[in-house]
Amino acid sequence: MADRYPGYDVLSKRWTESWNETTRQVIDRRLSVPRQARFFSAAEWRTLSAVCDRIMPQPKDRPPVPLPAYVDQKIAAGLLDGYRYAQMPPQGEAWQRGLAALDRAAQDAHGGRFHVLPPDQQDGLLRRMQQGELTGEAWGGMPCKLFFERRVIPDITQAYYTHPVAWNEIGFGGPASPRGYVRMGLDRRDPWEAAEANTGERAHARRKNNRVG
């Protein structure tokens, strides 16, 4: 269901007891992520952006969450995952190699770099990567399946769901400190939680969501 929580905005709770000062600062930093690449080259950025658009397509009616910027930021800031598969290079090198290899595969299969291909061909290449079917020396021994599972998917999808826009989409309550939750049971909602629009009740849900802040 599109717009399951009409009018709900986690940010409207910014000055309520659900948010504390530390959280406000963190979310502010999140929302003001630098939009220019600090790690990726311009060419890599173009491929990365196209990959982000397929992995996490976003609605056209709002400004998109700048997913390439978050992927870039993680690498530039040196934020590690705590583990690295033995066959995988470190995250920055993995991305560079993977993007280049993807472009190479796009060239070989469809005669153009990844970002110029139509969406269904892009999806096809990504699916083949997911199945482990993209090979070649451009990968330098890095298994494309691992690259997909351990870099492409987590780095892009997690970046999306760290963003308040994604929280609005799924009706997540968002930050909660010092105020947590009172009504814990099934089918119970606190007034500061997202109200779901069931069929025929959109206006009612919107009114409730407008009062969340």
Binding site: R54, Q87, D123, Q130, Q158, G171, M184, L186, E196
Partner: protein
């Protein structure tokens, strides 16, 4: 807002942060590096914290080292998953084997208070027979500990951590009343209960290390659901807000942002102190005893890295077992969608649990497991969805929109010890110039059989409550153990029942590494109990002149 705990160590200049008071300080005794302290303890977590506290309260001079920062929960913890990655050990470990372990928030903390700063607070006792897994149940190895003695230490640990638990527990021998009453069930927990009842299985509200009523300076839980991302109210009874403040009061020193890289051994084959990196340079603290409590990756890493001519295979390793018998626990899950709104993120993730299959031996595999309610926050949830179902694109976004209707059951399952599962040193070096750990892991046949049984049971439970769109998370693990196992024979163990290494009389290991088996429950309460016992044992040994 407090100063950045990563920038410079707050525990300095005769004071340490008062975790209960914004901007407050408590006095901290400090020891000179050149005066040998009685105990240098490496790690301040589930094992290190109670050990430091018990030793200091027993009159020993103690310095506790932690590679991680000294957080002030009230000020430093944001309500944000990504930001709170700062609680985890995100420094790289190399992982391999047939089933490489995902290191990080599922098993490795980096903070004063260790992994208890981010753990889910589930505080369960071992089934008594597990202490004699080999002789009583025919698998794994026997512990050199007596369950009745551990039963008393569990009581002490539960008291120290103000565990909130049910008034009667459906399994195992009788236990004294928990200090606080169990928490209210949320919708996710209620669904576990209904599913269990439909299957004829007992269930219980979970024993949790977070208070359900005020306790000294801790307010009761506000059910914000960010438990595994740091409790910003101090309702959660981590070591950071329990044992560590007591330790400071009893005269211990905590050195935060202090990475111990090497244990020094003297010409007589005894430990003489620890080399540690703090504020940009390497330093050395003299100590009469060294206790390692870095958990099952960092402890063997340190012991192996401290190899000398005298001990070329690493310290305390005459058995060859340091780093071997690494165990994690299976953490697979089954998820589904409900017509009702569940909003599972309200409250601690696991408010109800069933331990049925820890006590029912009608299985054709060894070991046990429990399952508990779940409440993943969005980033964790998308990780589960993508890794379990291979979803991406619009299909993923559509599924994620069902967030408030999701329900899940997650297991904690016993995995058996295998010497091939181990921690070794890779050639890669970390930011301190130390060789990083390589963690090699493969599931055995018994592990897989147990997992499949559990998945089947959990699926049945979800079907019984009317969940639809059911899917399984087939690959997830949590917790660690085994890499410095305790035993009563130096040929087959690293430490004895007192956590004292066989090879080096003043070198101790006091964390989950000492577990010969993992059992089918979360390990933290057992680690805490062992640490409290070890402190008591050290006091007795010291009084006898046997230290």
């Amino acid at each position: 807002m407090s100063a950045d705990p990563f920038a410079a160590p707050p525990a300095a200049n005769g004071r340490a942060p008062d975790v209960f008071k914004r901007g407050g300080w408590v006095p901290m005794r400090q020891y000179g590096e050149d005066e040998a302290v009685d105990f240098a303890v490496v790690g301040t977590g589930a094992g290190g914290g109670p050990l430091i506290c018990g030793l200091a309260e027993g009159g020993f001079s103690v310095v506790g080292f932690d590679a991680g920062p000294y957080f002030r929960p009230l000020e430093d913890f944001a309500s944000d998953e990504r930001e709170q990655d700062k609680l985890y050990w995100t420094d790289e470990r190399v992982v391999d084997g047939a089933n490489p372990i995902t290191m990080g928030g599922k098993n490795s903390g980096k903070a004063v208070g260790g992994s208890t700063v981010h753990f889910a607070m589930v505080s369960l006792r071992f089934r008594p027979e597990w202490f004699k897994s080999r002789s009583a149940l025919g698998y794994g190895a026997d512990w050199p500990l007596n369950w009745r003695e551990m039963w008393q230490y569990y009581t002490k640990a539960e008291k120290a951590l103000s565990i909130s638990g049910p008034l009667s527990y459906p399994w195992g021998p009788k236990r004294p009343r928990y200090p606080y009453r169990a928490h209210e069930l949320n919708g996710a927990a209620e669904l576990l209960a209904r599913g269990a009842e439909a299957m004829g299985l007992k269930w219980t509200p979970t024993q949790l290390a977070t208070v359900s009523a005020p306790h000294r300076k801790s307010p009761p839980c506000v059910y914000r659901g960010f438990c595994r991302f740091g409790c910003s109210t101090n309702a959660k009874q981590s070591q950071l807000v329990t044992f560590i403040p007591r330790a400071l009061q009893a005269g211990a020193e905590i050195r935060d942002l202090a990475m111990v890289g090497r244990i020094e051994i003297g010409p007589d084959g005894r430990a003489t102190g620890v080399h540690y990196h703090r504020e940009g340079r390497w330093r050395f603290q003299k100590a009469r005893n060294v206790a390692v409590a870095g958990y099952a990756i960092e402890t063997p890493r340190l012991l192996l890295a401290s190899a000398t001519d005298k001990f070329p295979d690493g310290l305390a390793n005459s058995s060859g077992l340091v780093g071997k018998n690494l165990m994690t626990q299976s953490n697979q899950a089954v998820f589904g969608t409900m017509a009702q709104e569940v909003r599972w993120n309200k409250g601690p993730p696991s408010l109800s649990i069933t331990e049925h299959w820890n006590y029912d031996d009608g299985k054709d595999f060894a070991g046990g497991y429990c399952w508990m309610a779940q409440g993943p926050l969005p980033v964790e949830w998308v990780t589960i969805q993508t890794s379990s179902r291979g979803l991406w694109g619009q299909a993923l976004r559509d599924e994620m929109e069902k967030y408030n209707h999701q329900v899940g059951l997650k297991m904690v399952g016993e995995m058996l010890p295998d010497e091939c599962n181990r921690v070794t040193l890779a050639d890669q070096k970390d930011q301190y110039g130390l060789r990083v750990a390589r963690v090699t892991y493969s599931w055995g046949d018994n592990d897989k059989a147990l997992i499949q049984h559990a998945l089947g049971q959990m699926q049945t439970s979800l079907e019984a409550v009317g969940a639809t769109n059911i899917f399984r998370q087939e690959d997830d693990t949590n917790h660690l153990a085994g890499t410095a196992r305790m035993g009563d024979d130096p040929a087959t163990s690293v430490v004895n029942a007192d956590c004292r290494s066989w090879d080096i009389p003043n070198l101790w290991v006091c964390d989950g590494s000492v577990f010969p088996t993992t059992g089918g429950v979360n390990p933290s309460l057992t680690i805490t109990g062992i640490a409290m016992r070890t402190a008591d044992r050290i006091r007795i040994l010291a009084a006898r002149g046997e230290l």
